[in-house]
């Protein structure tokens, strides 16, 4: 066996599998995107880039695109910022740590859609738990209609997004923290480094690869996340909380414009691809350096 061909041969099975799962559907979507397609996916003739042109003429598309970026950035960064201290605390040895870990992980066991629906009820203006809780604490007198307008609904959706991303991120961080050798801290303590300095100079650099992983995976999940926004507002009122996935869903399954919906999903695919490439580039350069 040729030594040069062997590695390729060995990765061939997984490549074929990946191709069947990824490349074939992408090919199908490309076909749909450049054709005039009826509601039931039947092709009615090649139209080139008309579907894209139609999209770019729609202000709602650009609004959804921009909102998707805000949504992804806010949820991912928010999750990283909140998860780091939680992971640090859970990494400490204290009484009841196992219980605390279970409690933090528990939301992970509940389906995203169910969490989102529970939040929809909690955010209900007249009978929601959040309003009655805030009133009970004496923090406000008037009910807030959380989901009635984007200015309150969208921040709440971001908060829910952060909340449901925490368990996964904390798990990754805990794995990372357990690989940091204890004696580094002992040595640093002897040298007179305080806790903040220890965190900044030891924990953070050693945690870096795990933060990177959490960052990339969360970005992909959140960018494509449908249930939270759909269950709470369906992208409304008046498309003001739409992100690309909810926009795509309405376009495809409500309005029956499968061609345009395919075009949207290609654009989303391209955005994620570019993002992943940049990320791979960055990490490779880092490793080389």
């Amino acid at each position: 066996m040729n030594r040069l061909a062997l590695p390729y041969l060995l990765i061939l099975p997984s490549f074929v599998l990946a191709a069947a799962i990824i490349l074939w559907p992408v090919g199908e979507i490309v076909t749909l995107a450049v054709h005039d397609v009826n509601r039931f996916g039947m092709l009615r003739g090649f139209i080139g880039f008309d579907n894209f042109r139609e999209l770019f003429a729609d202000p709602d598309f650009f609004a959804a695109l921009w909102r998707t970026l805000v949504w992804t950035a806010a949820v991912v960064l928010g999750t990283l910022v909140v998860s780091t201290p939680i992971a640090l605390i859970l990494n400490e040895d204290f009484y009841g740590r196992s219980l605390a870990r279970v409690l933090i992980m528990l939301p992970w066991a509940i389906s995203l859609t169910m969490t989102a629906i529970v939040w929809r009820w909690a955010l209900n203006g007249e009978s929601g738990m959040l309003n009655s809780g805030l009133r009970g604490l004496g923090l406000m007198n008037e009910n807030i209609q959380w989901l009635a307008q984007a200015s309150t609904a969208f921040p709440m959706q971001i908060l829910i997004g952060i909340l449901v991303s925490i368990p996964f991120t904390v798990t990754i961080f805990l794995g990372g923290l357990s690989s940091v050798p204890e004696d580094l801290y002992d040595a640093a303590a002897i040298e007179g480094a305080g806790r903040w300095t220890q965190f900044r100079l030891i924990t953070l650099p050693l945690l870096r690869p795990f933060i990177n992983i959490a960052f990339v995976l969360n970005t992909i999940y959140v960018f494509n996340s449908f249930p939270i926004i759909w269950a709470t507002t369906q992208g409304g009122p008046a498309n003001s909380t739409d992100i690309l996935v909810t926009y795509l869903y309405k376009l495809g399954f409500r309005l029956g414009k499968l061609g345009e919906a395919s075009a949207v999903s290609l654009i989303m695919f391209a955005i994620l691809l570019v993002f992943t490439l940049i990320y791979v580039r960055l990490t490779m350069r880092e490793e080389a350096a």
């Binding site: 039931f40 409304g236 009122p237």
Partner: protein, 410 residues
Amino acid sequence: MTKFARALLFASAGLLALGNAAEAGTVRVTIAEYSKGTGPYFEAAAKAFEAANPGTKIQIEVVPWDNLQQKLTTDISAGANSDLSIIGTRWLLDYVRQGVVAPLDSYVTPEFKGRFIETFLTPSVLDGKVYGLPIAASARAVYYNKDVFAKAGYDTLPATWAEFKTAAEKIKASGSGVFPFGLQGKEIETDVYYYYGLWSEGGEIIKDGKSGLDSPAAIEAAKLYKSFIDGGLTQPGVTSYNREDVQNLFKQGKVATVITAPFLSGQIKKEAPNLNYGVAAIPAGPSGDHGTYGVTDSIVLFANSKVKDEAWKFLDFLFTTDQRVAFDKVEGFLPVNAEEAKNPLFADNADLKVFASLLPKARFAPVIPGWEDIAQTTSNAIQKIYLGQGEIEPTLKEAAAKVNATLSKN
């Protein structure tokens, strides 16, 4: 490798054969889940039918309403659709144009046609051909809280919007904390809730092939609803309430009125038996116009079905009087069958009588392609107005232009 490929081929051929065996004499029926009772009713009907027609099997698939359109779309594009399915009659035109559903005329006898109340069969007839049968029918009326109105000095719901608004102000002034007008502003049928006002003002959704959204009636209707919102006469934050949410507020006694379909009566009986409510026509506009929304869902036969005769037999069975009574009793829909309407269950029901009396003035969703598109444009515009994010006239004019573009495209 070749051995494996052959094994795979065999396996798939076996699967195909299995699939075919199950298909022979089996009629697959996709059912929209209207309530918890829908599935059990159809299962029971299928059993009764199978007992009377040995050799034919009925396979019922129950799908939640919200997912029905999506499921049918994917099933049809994959060629894996059932033989019969319930669809919203407003989708029918799209389905007929794409050649997906089969006309039923070769099966429909004059006797069969005669079973129906004509108002309900008409929406399923396109170009003179029957493409669907009205499996479910409803209309809309106002449910009002009698106790709340009595406290404000009214025995019944006022008959015009002007009087209703006066009553609403009195209810608000009484300080009971009940919001007089339950207004839906979210999700499916947000547009329809606005059309009630539009029709009262004498407007039409579509007139002479053009959108009626920029007509004076449409503007008046929007102003009317907005004045309710601004006057604090609706529940706050209307754009966060879908129809179920408003119905729930009504059951809890938090809003004094809600415009909805007959099935609310059954829900109230179960969930809020002490609520003292009445049902009345939607208030009329200044010139006495008032409209209600008539809705039917059709059961259709797909063109690619291989068991059309068996499927028709099942349809024939479903539309016998006994079956219709059983179904409408479970769901609280209006009778579509003339014989059925005489059943004391419906004839002596005070709530249903009100609904039935409104039918002559009922408007059905116009038979135009792209109806969902128009509904979404209208809902978006009306939400902007409710939120105060758009001036009424320009917002409606813009929406009308968009609707006209949709209409001319198809």
